[in-house]
Subunit: 363 residues, 2 copies
C-alpha cells in the first residue's frame, strides 16, 4: 500500500496517453497559428515550442502588426488571413490551430479542412450549435482530424482526479460544485479580448468563455454527459450590456447527479472543482486557469491529502497531446462530436435562462 502510494506520487504528472518517445521525434507537427490574441502569444506559442511533438511555423491575424511582430520575434512565416485561407503557405504547416473569436472559427476551419490539414480549434467550437455542426462536418467531409482545445483534459491534475473516480476511491458521485470567475476587464485587460463583449463574435460571454470549463471538465471527470440543464444569467456592469456577465447553471448527469456551476466575468477570481462522493471528496482548487498552479486534494474519512506536485505547462501538455496523437495516428478524445455536446449544453443554459425552465439535452 505504501509502495502503491509512493508510485502514485511519483507518477502524478505522467502522460498516460504517451506511447511515442518525445526525444525521438524527428519531424514534429508543423502548426499554423491563427489568431494572435493574448492567449496565443502568451500561452499557445510557448506551449507549441515546449512540446516535443509540435513546432509553430506560420502565424496569422487580422492585426498585421501583431503578425509582423510575432513572426519576427519567433522567426516564423507571417501571412494575412486571406493568404492563410487560400493556402498560400500550405506547404509550411501540417495543422492549423484556430484561436480567433468564436464566430470566425468556422471560416478558418473550413479553409484548413479544404487544405487537408489537421485542426486544433479553440472552444467553444463556434457561436451556435448549428455553426459548430457545420465546422465538424467540414472536417469530417474532408477527412481531416479535429481536436478541440479543452486544455483541462490533458492536465495531470484533472486526469488523476478522473483516475481516482475510475478506481472507485470516491465511491458513487453524489454531486459536484464548480466555480470559475475573474475580473475580465481588469485581469486580462487587453483590447484584443474585448470581442468577448460582442455577442456576434462571441455568442455570449460568461457562459461561453468560462462556463465551458466546469461543464467540460465535469463531463471528462465523470465520463458522463448531462441530460438536462437549467441556468440563469445576469449582467449589471455596462460593459456587459449585450452579453452575460454572470451565470449559474445546474447540469443534471445520469443517475441524478447534479453539478452546480457558477461563472462570472466580473467577480473575485475563483477557480474550483469539487466532486463529492460517498467515500471521498476530490478537490481541484485552483482548478481552471492556465496562469495559476493547480491544487489537488483528496478528503476521505477525516483525512485530507494535499498533493503538491510539479506543475506542468498546461498548454505544452495540450499541444503535446495534439501532436502526439497525429504522429501516432491515434484519435483525439476531445473531438468534434465531443465538443458538440458542450455546444448543446451551453445553448441550453441560455435557453433555460430565457424561459426559466430546464432544457432537455441528448440527441
Amino acid at each position: 500500500m505504501d509502495a502503491a502510494f509512493a508510485e502514485y506520487l511519483d507518477e502524478f504528472t505522467r502522460r498516460d496517453w504517451e506511447t511515442l518517445d518525445p526525444d525521438a521525434v524527428a519531424d514534429p507537427v508543423r502548426v499554423a497559428v491563427v489568431g494572435l490574441g493574448w492567449f496565443a502569444r502568451e500561452w499557445a506559442l510557448p506551449g507549441i515550442a515546449r512540446s516535443a511533438y509540435t513546432e509553430a511555423t506560420v502565424v496569422t491575424d487580422v492585426d498585421a502588426g501583431a503578425v509582423e511582430a510575432v513572426a519576427a520575434e519567433r522567426d516564423l512565416t507571417g501571412v494575412t488571413p486571406e493568404e492563410l485561407r487560400s493556402g498560400a503557405a500550405a506547404d509550411e504547416y501540417d495543422a492549423v490551430y484556430v484561436a480567433t473569436p468564436n464566430a470566425t472559427h468556422l471560416e478558418y476551419v473550413e479553409a484548413a479542412a479544404a487544405q487537408g490539414k489537421a485542426v486544433l480549434c479553440e472552444k467553444p467550437l463556434e457561436v451556435t450549435p448549428e455553426r459548430a455542426r457545420e465546422l465538424v462536418a467540414a472536417c469530417h467531409d474532408a477527412g481531416v482530424p479535429l481536436m478541440v482545445g479543452y486544455r483541462m483534459q490533458t492536465d495531470p491534475a484533472v486526469r488523476r482526479l478522473r483516475d481516482l473516480l475510475d478506481a472507485g476511491v470516491a465511491g458513487d458521485v453524489i454531486h459536484v460544485h464548480a466555480t470559475m470567475s475573474q475580473t475580465m476587464l481588469g485581469e486580462l485587460g487587453s483590447d484584443t479580448d474585448q470581442w468577448r463583449l460582442d455577442p456576434e463574435l462571441s455568442g455570449g460571454c460568461a457562459v461561453m468563455d468560462l462556463g465551458v470549463y466546469p461543464l467540460n471538465t465535469t463531463r471528462f471527470a465523470l465520463r458522463e454527459d448531462p441530460v438536462r440543464v437549467s441556468g440563469r444569467t445576469r449582467s449589471e456592469h455596462e460593459a456587459f450590456a449585450d452579453v452575460d456577465e454572470h451565470a449559474s447553471f445546474r447540469l443534471e448527469f445520469p443517475g441524478d447527479v447534479d453539478a452546480f456551476c457558477t461563472v462570472s466575468q466580473n467577480a473575485q477570481h475563483a477557480s474550483r472543482l469539487e466532486v463529492t462522493g460517498t467515500d471521498a471528496r476530490l478537490i481541484l482548487d485552483p482548478a481552471f486557469y492556465e496562469r495559476e498552479d493547480r491544487g489537488f486534494a483528496v478528503v476521505r474519512d477525516g483525512t485530507r491529502v494535499d498533493v503538491d506536485f510539479e506543475q506542468v505547462h498546461q498548454i505544452e501538455e495540450e499541444f503535446a497531446y495534439f501532436g502526439h496523437q497525429l504522429l501516432a495516428g491515434e484519435p483525439f478524445h476531445a473531438d468534434g462530436e465531443h465538443a458538440l455536446t458542450d455546444m448543446r449544453a451551453l445553448d441550453g443554459v441560455y435557453e433555460s435562462a430565457e424561459t426559466g425552465r430546464p432544457v432537455e439535452l441528448g440527441d
Copy 2:
C-alpha cells in the same frame, strides 16, 4: 490600517450582542430540556452548563431510562413527557428547550406556551409550514418569547463573515456555494437519530435536517430572504426509501444572486460555505458542524487570509444568546417569523423536486 487589522483579529470571537456582564448573572435562565437524543446529551446540556446565562434544571424524554441516567448524572429533575406538558415541574424552569423529533415540536411548544415559558425550539421548526405556523401562533398568542435554534447565527465565524459583507469587503455578492454532507448512518449511528428516516416524524431527511443550514446561514449572512427555489432530491440506499437521502437546491435571492446548495445524509463528510463577491471571496470550511472547528478564509486579489481563531463551544454561544436576550429583555433575531421563511423554502424544495419547476416564495 494595521491597527484595525489587529483589532479585528483580537476581537474575532467577540459577542457583539452581549450587553450584560456574564460574571454578574445572579439568576441564570432555568431551562427544561425536552428530548435527550445525541445532540441534547453531547452538546446542548454541556452548552447550557457552560453558558453564564443559563442552567439546566429539568429533563424529559420518551425514553425513561435516558431521563433517569441524565438526571442522575447532572443532578437534575427528571420528569415524564406527560409531566412536562402538564406543568408538573413548571416552577423549576423559566424556559423550555425542545429537541425532539420535528413532528413533536408543536405539542411541547404549545405546552410551554400555555405555561408562560420562553421557548427555544430546534430547527426545522416543524414538519410542515402549517404546523410551524401553529407553533409560532401558540407562542405569539401566549405572549411567550420564541427563539429557533439556528446555532450558526451566534457562531463568531458566521457573524464575522457577515460583518465583512456589511462592511463591503466582498463588494457585491455574485453567488454562493454551500454544501453539507455526512454519513448519517455511520457518523452519528445512534438509534435515537433514526427518527429522521421516518417522514411522519421528520418531514423529510437531507433537506429538513441539513438543508436548513446552508439555507438559513446564507439568509443570515446576506440579510436577504430567497424569492424562489428549485431543487431535486434522490434516494438510493434502502434506509432512505421513505425520505430524501441527497438533495440539491438553488435559492434565488434578490438581485438575482443564486445560492447553490447540496446536502447529503450519505456522502463523504463536507461542510462549506463560500460567498463570491466582486471584491472578495469569503469561505467557511468547515462551516456547519458543531463537532468540528470552523475555518474562516478571505481571498481578495490573490491574497488569501486564513483566520485561525480560538474556537468557541458553538452551543454555549447559542444558549448564552438565548439566556442573555431573555435576561436583557431583548428580542431574538431567529424568532418564529424568521423560521417560517425557512419552512416555506424547505417545503418549496420538496415541491420543486416533485414538479420539476421553480417555486415562488414570498408571503
